[in-house]
């Protein structure tokens, strides 16, 4: 039972480069989320999806795009990476319904030079 799997685990980019982070879940969850975690700031929501083909902005969406073409996958894209996007990125998923806990992957550590 893999749960939520994120790839890659680590990545170093140069300013202006682009990349895509992949999140896959095998729990048949409807809702998926992308967060970033920075020291002293807690987890902040970037984008989320309530179902296949639907996405929406969270608290800090600027500079990121997402896609949910398949129910089990949620992709986070950085079109033109900036040093301010250096962070640890977490994907989470949950079953639709009140009070369901979100289940997290182990994160992608991204450095932008």
């Amino acid at each position: 039972n893999a749960g939520v799997t994120q790839t890659p685990k680590f990545r170093v980019l140069k300013t202006g480069q682009s990349m895509t982070l992949l999140c896959a879940q095998d729990m048949n969850h409807e809702y998926m989320y992308w967060y970033r975690q920075d020291p002293g700031m807690g987890l902040r929501l970037i984008h989320y999806s309530v179902g296949e083909g639907t996405t929406a902005k969270g608290e800090v969406p600027d500079g990121y795009n997402v896609s949910r073409l398949k129910k089990q996958n949620f992709l986070l894209g950085l079109e033109s990476a900036a040093p301010s996007q250096t962070s640890v990125y977490f994907c989470a998923s949950t079953k639709r319904g009140s009070n369901q806990p979100q289940h997290f992957g182990d994160g992608t550590r991204l450095s932008i030079l």
Partner: protein
Amino acid sequence: EDQVTQSPEALRLQEGESSSLNCSYTVSGLRGLFWYRQDPGKGPEFLFTLYSAGEEKEKERLKATLTKKESFLHITAPKPEDSATYLCAVQAANTGFQKLVFGTGTRLLVSP
């Protein structure tokens, strides 16, 4: 605006020395309060959900309690393996996508 404040930021205990972590919150109607554990280099791991004031939940050496303004995570006779960052999050009743608002966490270090 929904907010979560956790204290202390860091806590160092000796093995067996019991203590409590605090999570204060303001939310427009609480649907649920969640506790997570996060180990270094890992994602948050779900521990408990509390729904209403007066509710308590236990798991091994951990007990979570809830009032109308705060939650406590009590750690009884901790062991070194309890060392981790503990995160608190709230879900408001008016959220349509089960949004969680997280605190910044308490880093717990338990020394042998």
